[in-house]
């Protein structure tokens, strides 16, 4: 069913996207503020579900890459994405018919919406990650052979076009160095493909799911009922069956550096005494693994922290001792579990990181 995003829906999508971000994906506040500032009360953004996407459309993915800390200091003007898309269309000599989010987890869920509004383009209900991953290439689009380039990059005072002759690896390298040299972050238009190709490589229905999740969380009603509704929302999606790992409070958080990245672990103790359960969770950019005695959950499955009363998602940056939380695990869509995808997201290296810590 095609649907239309209204101004009121923006905060639901923003909130839901933070759930799917698994604690990472950056702060959505600037982007949410930008859209709310620009959008008029009667404006709508058209959302196209997978079965309505036309095969002959040309679709590009939209996102923001780089340091979220710097992005939150460097207020976007609100023009960047339009400039980026115009550059893309001009240099590549191709008109874009629809947009899709690179990453549904976090700020990038909102990234295509403003552009869609201003250019009157539809947004496809889906994305390239199904959650948040730390790198631009960790997408199912890349996995399915959609090249990242041509790619247009735009910051407040610079722009760059990377032509289709660049391989995806080269394009990633160029994009990173452009971001590094231009304030640490950049708006990105890339992963162009036909509607036909996008349909077979995207994760479908994630935008609607984000909206649903946000709406449920902000609805009145007691926690148990809302939690049940969250479970139902996931059941009607491409994700696996949600399980509640623990309801408890954070007893300890520690953070340290590993290869110039902040990593950390935390412990949660259960409320219910009979189980006397205590679990350990590790995190990097996102919540990463759960050790729960006999069972282990890990990326790419979604590890989600919610505040125990409000059910608002909590990020790896914000998690603190003595917070009361609900931890959920939602099995990732099957495609994220394929060997190729696990290689793409460096699960091997990540295991090593884990091991190193255990040796300490």
């Amino acid at each position: 069913m095609p649907w239309k995003i209204t101004k009121e829906d923006i905060r639901f999508i923003s909130l839901g996207a933070r759930i799917l971000s698994c604690g990472g994906g950056g702060n959505t506040r600037s982007m949410e503020a930008l859209i709310l500032s620009v959008m008029k009360d009667d404006d709508v953004i058209e959302v196209i579900p997978i079965h309505v996407v036309r095969d002959d459309w040309w679709v590009t993915a939209i996102g923001i890459m780089g340091s979220t800390v710097l992005f939150n200091e460097d207020l976007p003007t609100g023009e960047e994405m339009e400039i980026g898309l115009s550059l893309y269309e001009k240099e590549y000599n191709k008109n874009v018919d629809a947009l899709i989010s690179i990453e549904i987890g976090g700020v990038n869920a909102l990234a295509p919406l403003l552009l869609a509004l201003k250019r009157r383009l539809p947004v496809i209900d889906g994305d390239g990650m199904g959650r948040a991953f730390p790198e631009l290439y960790m997408t199912t689009l890349h996995l399915n052979g959609i090249p990242l380039a041509p790619l247009s990059l735009v910051t407040q005072d610079n722009m760059k076009f990377i032509p289709s002759s660049y391989t995806s690896d080269q394009a990633v390298h160029e994009a990173k160095s452009f971001a590094n040299n231009n304030g640490g972050h950049s708006h990105v238009v890339g992963y162009g493909a036909s509607g036909d190709e996008i349909k077979t490589s995207m994760l479908s229905g994630t935008l609607y799911l984000a909206y649903r999740l946000g709406k449920i969380i902000t609805s009145y009603g007691d926690g148990i009922i809302r939690l049940k509704q969250i479970k139902n929302a996931f059941e009607n999606s491409i994700y696996g069956e949600l399980s509640l790992v623990i309801k408890g409070y954070v007893t300890e958080v520690s953070r340290w550096f590993e290869n110039e990245v902040i990593v950390g672990k935390l412990f949660i103790e259960s409320y219910t005494k009979q189980h006397n359960q205590k679990i350990e969770i590790q995190f990097m950019n996102e919540f990463f693994t759960i050790h729960n005695g006999e069972s282990i959950y890990r990326v790419p499955d979604l590890i989600v922290f919610l505040h125990i009363d409000s059910l608002e998602p909590i990020s790896v940056v914000d998690i603190q001792r003595a917070q009361s939380v609900i931890v959920l695990v939602i099995p990732a869509p099957n495609i994220l579990h394929t060997t190729d995808m696990l290689t793409l997201i460096h699960m091997k290296e990540s295991y090593q990181l884990l091991k190193k810590e255990e040796d300490q």
């Binding site: 780089g66 710097l70 200091e73 003007t77 609100g78 407040q156 304030g183 640490g184 103790e269 003595a322």
Partner: protein, 517 residues
């Protein structure tokens, strides 16, 4: 000898403590709308009662929740103009996530182009574009703006541009108060802008409350230095508090926790302050009340200032109880003066205190309480109230208790006798120190001096260690300059944060140090 004064929403307390830490005298007065007068009266009474010479006083320490109350119930906020110093104007509107009773005070918005580009490291800063500034000043005058807030992108890297603009505006409009965001918070534009705007709006509040403080203390014969306590529990000068009122909004609970530490001699405990409208629960470790910074919210407004880490339950002694369709409700509204309005005192309002008194008579040693007034409310309902309140408190305590060692509970605040020996017993290691009613004023007396830094540095051919050492020295020098005894200075924390995508070339450094007067 020290004089501590705590100006709360309902009561103002004063206490005199001698050099060995004994309480010589204390007094409690209702807070009136004239803050200066209230402070004068309360201080006068306590000085008379202690029978000490004002000359023997080494310092006056003032804590207040006045500024926070002003945000809830504005009476004296300034009409504020925002000036954003960014490369290009952003379409993001200021005050977006604010309650309307506050956002309406943002009456003007300007954009000036920044000359600073942090990626080039060296500012291309010639001089201010005087023409645009003049034009802006004309508009400020026309709009009868009462306060100005300057927020520059990356001002935590480079503060000169904000400060220079402030100077220019001040030279044209000397009576206007100007907030610069580099004095308020660190990286994170919108949160810093929010905090700076709030600070700007609060310009009159501290000024009006404290401008007469000089004369008040002079009239009392007090010629010693005096200080205001801030969010992290440390001291600031009155001039600073007038300039940076946002830093005082959380000082009440911090003072209370520090007071609890002094009154009990404990360094590690969970403090429970039972007040009229809230029960605040916080943690003291190694003698310092714990604080947190970002993401914190003040009235739902995200800000990046340091605030005490407290869990506030809206079940204070004065909260009203009602039955609605058979359900028992604890309301957010409170009795403004429980000793007049509470049922037990002959009033008309059923409060949480009344419910406790029904179940646990004689908790308060107050001869004005008439227990027959409580006959109209059902024991069953009161028991429900008591159980609800106590289970909420117990839940919070359970979460805060460190796992390795059980720390005691310290009950303070006027309402705390309701809990002691009723809900919390010796078994919980619950303590209610003598002076529990004036704990905030006691805590203010012992507030330390602090100096902190939260800035972003480029390495520029220096090592990280060099920068950290240099900045540590700077923080310590500043503390000594403020009047701290060098031997008491302790660096409380040093934290480094790298920036991903800008590998190792720059880092954010946070240093916090405390020292005693």
């Amino acid at each position: 000898m020290r004089l501590g004064i705590d100006v709360g929403g309902t009561n103002t307390d004063a206490v005199i403590i001698d050099d060995s830490g004994n309480i010589k005298a204390w007094s409690k007065q209702l807070t009136t709308s004239n803050l200066g007068e209230t402070i004068y009266e309360t201080a006068k009474i306590v000085l008379n009662e202690a029978n000490v010479k004002p000359e023997s006083m080494k310092g006056v320490f003032l804590g207040t929740t006045h500024v926070l109350n002003e945000l809830y119930y504005p009476k004296n906020l300034a009409k504020t103009a925002l000036i954003r110093l960014t490369k290009k104007p952003s379409k993001i509107k200021p005050g977006l996530f604010w309650p309307s009773h506050l956002s309406k005070y943002i009456i003007k918005e300007f954009h000036l182009e920044t000359k600073y580009d942090f990626t080039r490291q060296i500012p291309h800063y010639d001089e201010i574009d005087h023409e645009s500034v003049f034009k802006m000043i004309k508009e400020l005058e026309k709009a009868k703006v009462e306060s100005v807030c300057i927020v520059g992108a990356f001002s935590s890297f480079y503060e000169d541009e904000e400060n220079n603009l402030k100077k220019v505006i001040a030279s044209h409009m000397p009576s206007l108060s100007v907030t610069v965001s580099n004095e308020i918070g660190s990286i994170g534009f919108l949160d810093r802008e929010n905090a700076s705007l709030l600070n700007s709006m609060l310009s009159f509040v501290m000024k009006d409350a404290l401008s007469s403080i000089n004369d008040i203390f002079k009239n009392l014969g007090l010629h010693c230095p005096y200080w205001i306590t801030q969010n992290d529990g440390s001291l600031m000068k009155v001039e600073e508090a007038i300039k940076l009122p946002i830093f005082t909004i959380g000082s009440g609970i911090t003072n209370s926790l520090r007071g609890a530490s002094k009154l009990t001699g404990l360094k590690n405990f969970i403090g429970i302050d039972v007040g009229g409208s809230t029960i605040d629960i916080g943690m003291v470790s190694h003698g310092h009340p714990q604080t947190e910074e970002g993401p914190v919210k003040v009235l739902d407004i995200p800000v990046n200032v340091r605030l005490p880490k407290v869990h506030s339950l809206s079940t204070g002694g004065g909260n009203l109880v009602n039955t609605h369709n058979g359900d028992l409700l604890i309301e957010d509204t409170i009795a403004s003066d429980i000793t007049k309005d509470g049922l037990a005192w002959g009033g008309e309002l059923w409060t949480i205190s009344d419910s406790f008194l029904k179940i646990f008579p004689h908790s308060f040693k107050d001869k004005h309480i008439k227990y027959e007034n409580l006959e109209g409310i059902s024991t069953e309902d009161c028991l429900k109230v008591v159980n609800t309140v106590s289970s909420r408190i117990r839940e919070k305590i359970r979460q805060l208790q460190p796992k390795d060692q059980y720390v005691p509970l310290v009950l303070v605040g006027g309402g705390s006798p309701l809990l002691l020996n009723n809900i919390f017993t010796k078994f919980d290691k619950a303590i209610q120190p003598v002076g529990y009613q004036i704990c905030n004023a006691v805590g203010a007396c012992y507030a330390p001096l602090s100096s902190s830094l939260d800035k972003v540095f480029w390495l520029n051919d220096r090592t990280k260690e060099e920068i950290v050492e240099r900045e540590k020295e700077r923080v310590i020098t500043e503390l000594i300059h403020k009047g701290a005894k060098p031997e008491t200075i302790k660096i409380n924390r040093v934290e480094e944060f790298p920036f991903d995508y800008l590998k190792g070339e720059m880092f954010r450094l946070k240093i916090m140090a405390f020292g005693d007067l």
